[in-house]
Symmetry: C2
Subunit: 238 residues, 2 copies
């Protein structure tokens, strides 16, 4: 393990403080010069840490003003995934998530859509089945598979932070989502899916296979998503 660079230390500290509410959404971080004094370094180093926070989607920089906190949860901006609460249309929609069953250890589905490493295969996974609502209309059925590791085992016993898997992984386990690969298709609703969404059989559904890449090498999270898009489109999935 290579030594943590100074700017990474600063980035990590500020990220945690943002996530813990020290700097709420809409507030300003300390100025670059203040941060230089705090962390005993120069602007160049502080700026590198702040640029990382921009890339993460936590802050925006305002010339002549300061670093504005725009979000207290990770969203990686352009080359990024967006959590469901950001995905559906305008943020004015009320979003709710239910668990179809509690997160439970399971075998990997066979065959699985993504190739699995021997370690993943052997360790098994935690299966998380959730149904997302927009304005109390069921719109997304999400099957998530998290490989079982030391860090992830506690997902089985402790409730998710704010009901969010990724927020829990980030805050409690320092595992951040860095990127995703996804594959998109349109499919016809199977009977059980039609029942869940309250639509006719064979209604077109948006089907998305996702592999999330994380800050932990060789640790991936997998999701299969079925979206009922007759009333709500899915936006900004990049």
């Amino acid at each position: 393990m290579t030594r943590l660079r100074h700017y990474q230390q600063i980035h990590h500290t500020l990220k945690q403080e943002i996530q813990q509410g020290v700097y709420p959404t809409g507030s300003l971080l300390p100025s670059e010069n203040e941060l230089c004094a705090t962390f005993q370094t120069t602007r160049m180093t502080v700026r590198q840490a702040l640029n990382e926070l921009v890339r993460d989607g936590f802050i925006e920089r305002r010339h002549g003003k300061g670093s504005l906190v725009t979000s207290t949860r990770p969203s990686l901006g352009l080359l990024s995934f967006r959590g469901f609460s950001d995905v559906v249309g305008n943020t004015s929609h009320q979003v709710r998530t239910t668990f179809l069953n509690p997160p439970a250890p399971a075998d990997w589905p066979a065959p699985f859509v993504y190739p699995l490493s021997a370690d993943e295969q052997q360790a098994g996974c935690i299966a998380i089945n959730r149904l997302r609502y927009a304005d109390d209309v069921p719109v997304m059925l999400e099957h998530t598979f998290v490989p079982i590791q030391n860090a992830t085992a506690s997902l089985l016993t402790e409730p998710f932070l704010d009901g969010s898997l990724f927020r829990t992984l980030s805050v409690r386990h320092q595992i951040d989502i860095r990127n995703l690969e996804q594959s998109l298709r349109a499919v016809a609703a199977r009977p059980e899916q039609a029942t869940i969404f309250g639509c006719r059989r064979n209604t077109p559904l948006l089907y998305i296979e996702r592999r999330y890449l994380t800050s932990l090498p060789d640790f991936y999270v997998y999701s299969l998503l079925y979206c009922h898009t007759e009333q709500y489109a899915i936006s900004n999935i990049l």
Copy 2:
């Protein structure tokens, strides 16, 4: 118009040279120190230009080696096709594009899916209707609308560079795609679409509405995409 910063000048020069083939895919850019000498500046400034090229997706930086050219065109928002037989999506498919009719001036469809400015509304648009094939199977019907401006009028008379609209805009008119907003749905194939794709009516299609944001303020490009995903899934290139 504010003066072009030095690092922007360097970024622009290198980008053009990459696009023009001076540095082909797989080659290395001059080292930071060489670029410092060439552009009469310091590493800090050169590095900022190189970081922009990384963000654009043109190069990757290799510690101890150099700046590797990974692409001669910006990949933002492009879609790739992934056959069901592909294990990891590494398999590349032969992709071909045909024009259903030549690019022609047109009125905006009414109603249009995105709100238009008064300028856009009045200027009208160039309508481009293309059909994309993967391995000679028709997989994507793309309706693109480009507002008519001084810069874009020549799209009507000159053929596209490499058949690519975005490459033409970038190389010939210095208009780069910076970002996109998109909205996704699954819809049932209409009869004329079923004919084009050679599928049954009501086959589920992936429908994508896109607004591309460009380096030109208030200049957007719009696309409506219909994708037949029974044989080929759509992957986002991030």
